[in-house]
């Protein structure tokens, strides 16, 4: 839980962007693992939506469990999820809002024509009425090996 603040390491930042570009024009999704308001790892997860991955992502319950498990293994906790918006701005949609969980950080990266653009972070307001934009900070790398940062 944070006060609308999230710090991500340069490698996590890079990893999320790369994931969004790789899956373009489809949406990518994954879990954010860390401590407090600092994300140390991005865990890429399969997009299992059946509604068309260009516009939707779905992390099914079994992958959610996997994400919680990975968080524990990495000595952190599950802080939230990231996903991409292919050819759309990095702003949460009504659909995002309808499906949001409280306290989680929702990182959105816009990917336009295959190149990652703005990255933003959002938190659901407690009454579920809106997403409030948080501030995304870029911190130091906490992993020596970049390959370790995205766990597939």
């Amino acid at each position: 839980m944070s006060d609308g603040r999230l710090t991500i390491s340069a490698r996590v930042n890079e990893a999320i962007r790369r994931h969004g570009e790789e899956t373009y024009p489809h949406e990518c999704c994954g879990a954010l693992v860390g401590r407090g308001d600092a994300v140390t790892d991005a865990v890429a997860l399969p997009n299992t939506t059946e509604e068309g991955p260009r516009r939707r992502f779905l992390v099914r319950p079994s992958d959610y469990r996997l994400a919680e498990q990975r968080a524990t293994e990495l000595g952190g906790e599950l802080l939230g999820f990231y996903h991409s918006h292919p050819d759309h701005p990095a702003k949460p949609s009504q659909y995002d809002l309808d499906h949001a969980w409280p306290t989680f950080a929702y990182v959105i990266v816009a990917v336009a024509a295959g190149a990652s653009q703005a990255m933003t972070v959002w938190f659901l307001k407690d009454d579920r009425s809106i997403f409030e934009e948080g501030s995304l900070h870029h911190g130091e790398n906490s992993h020596p090996d970049p390959a370790q940062t995205v766990h597939r």
């Binding site: 516009r55 992502f57 099914r60 599950l78 999820f81 918006h85 949609s93 969980w101 997403f131």
Partner: protein, 488 residues
């Protein structure tokens, strides 16, 4: 008692515990007891109808209750019940735009607002939530004229939070027949000042933002950016294409309307998956082909109806109710009192909203519509083809008697005329030019000089030697020579 495992995002509601106890013989009873003990959980687990949210999964031991007996699934003390999230999201589709709103809910309503909007609040489709969405919404109205008047008045009355208006004109007597934002005492005032007074009197709760500028490619993106919906009340093609393109580039819906004589059109353009104005009209008509309301006239009540359709669509989009006018083009014929609806599809080859757009930033719309600012003509040519009102008057006073041909329509000729002129409407010139002598000096005029320029070109093309076009038409004549006559 059974144990319920709580996922990370819900732990703040269970005093940070990852497992809590609750009692009940079925999953339904257990969850009811759980939300009694930890009331903050309710809104996140259940929707407004009291149903489990679609992204909330409940497992008994390792089985999803959807494959057991759902909420009737029995549980006993040795079972472990887990609440497991699905995490979903994505970008909005037309379906979402249809169903949903522009995303924000405003502050709670004050007692005065409850009173003011009570006829909204008692309808379940609107209700307090819908009214709060209106309160949070920002609508930009392009123009405070015929269409802008009803749009702004109804949106202000309905309780839109912020209403922006772009206009740079002043109120003229000829506006009052349809532009109901302005009254007789406002003639000569800026339209924005007049609009602000009227709208403030109507609803002081609304934040009225006025922009006294000509909308242009330089300022449009910045002006539109803070708004949720743009309402196009423009009266010319360059601005219409500009509004359309800026809306597409910014992803803002455009509640479009236009009027001419007795006919009106309306649609909603530039929604995420819907068509835009260019999908319908990729190219503007050649300049001069489609006359403006100033030339062709407009039935005064017509913008009332079309503007109210635009305002209706804006309100629906904001509240996320009903079926928007997306992908449908409404044509209204006031004389026959008929509505027609055309189906519109998004054009994949559309230069601005298609899959491979060629227009990715705003362009020069005057040029696009073939209207380039007229270069100053050489003086010598001027003498040969044009005459000013003052010159004509001086020549008449000296006793010169050029033949004066008025090429307007008979109903315009009834309103005002230059003494001694004769009427040959532009459309009749080709069959009636035989009434004129090709060697005689002829002065042609219309209202503002456009139609008479065409008549002069035609006469020259059939061999007339001395044809002069009256610069600025009869309006200039009245301004400079004969202010006693009415203008229209």
């Amino acid at each position: 008692m059974a144990k319920i495992l709580i996922p990370t995002p819900l732990r703040p509601y269970t005093d940070k515990q990852d497992a809590v106890d609750a009692s009940g013989a079925t999953v339904g009873e257990l969850l009811a007891d759980l939300t009694r003990r930890h009331s903050g959980l309710k809104a996140h687990l259940f929707n407004d109808q009291g149903k489990l949210r679609s992204f909330v999964n409940v497992y008994v031991n390792d089985e999803d209750i959807r494959y057991l007996q759902k909420e009737q699934t029995p549980v006993n003390a040795s079972d472990t019940v887990s609440i497991i999230p699905s995490v979903a999201g994505g970008v909005d589709t037309v379906e979402d735009v249809r169903r949903s709103d522009l995303g924000r809910m405003g502050e709670p309503l004050t007692n005065d607002e409850v009173k003011r909007y009570s006829r909204h609040l008692i309808m379940p489709e609107v209700g307090v939530d819908g009214q709060r969405k209106l309160k949070a919404s920002k609508v930009l109205c392009i123009g405070a004229g015929g269409l802008g008047s009803p749009v702004a008045m109804y949106l202000a009355a309905a309780g839109v939070g912020t209403l922006g208006i772009v206009d740079f004109d002043t109120v003229d007597f000829s506006n009052l027949q349809r532009q109901i934002l302005h009254g007789t005492p406002d003639v000569g005032r800026s339209k924005l000042a007049s609009a602000k007074d009227k709208l403030h009197a109507l609803n002081p709760e609304v934040d009225i933002q006025t922009y006294e500028v000509a909308l242009s490619s330089q300022n449009a993106m910045q002006l539109f950016e803070p708004y949720d919906v743009v309402v196009d009340g423009t009266d010319n093609f360059p601005t219409r294409y500009l509004v359309n393109d800026a809306c597409v580039l910014l992803g803002k819906p455009n509640a479009y309307g236009s009027i001419f004589r007795f006919e009106g059109q309306a649609s909603v353009f530039a929604t995420k998956d819907g068509p835009c104005y260019r999908c319908l009209y990729p190219e503007p008509p050649p300049p001069g082909l489609v006359p403006s309301c100033a030339e062709g006239g407009v039935l005064g009540v017509l913008p009332g109806l079309i503007g109210v359709i635009q305002a209706t669509e804006a309100v629906k989009l904001i509240m996320g109710i009903g079926e928007p006018l997306i992908g449908r083009f409404l044509i209204y014929d006031a004389l026959r009192m008929r509505f027609r609806e055309l189906k519109l599809r998004k054009d994949p080859d559309c230069p601005v909203c298609g899959t491979h757009p060629t227009v990715t930033k705003l362009i020069d719309y005057e040029q696009f519509c073939g209207i380039t600012p007229a270069a100053p003509e050489p003086v010598a040519v001027n003498h040969a083809t044009e005459i000013s009102s003052v010159e004509l008057k001086q020549r008449l006073d000296r006793g010169d008697r050029p033949r004066i041909v008025d090429v307007r329509e008979p109903n315009e000729y009834q309103i005002n005329r230059i003494p001694g002129s004769e009427l040959i409407p532009l459309g009749d010139v080709p069959k009636r030019y035989g009434e004129l002598n090709p060697d005689e000096e002829i002065v042609v005029h219309c209202k503002m000089g456009g139609r008479s320029a065409k008549a002069a070109d035609f006469l020259r093309s059939v061999g007339f030697k001395r044809v002069l076009n009256l610069k600025g038409g009869i309006l200039d004549w009245i301004d400079k020579v004969d202010p006693s006559q009415p203008k229209y």
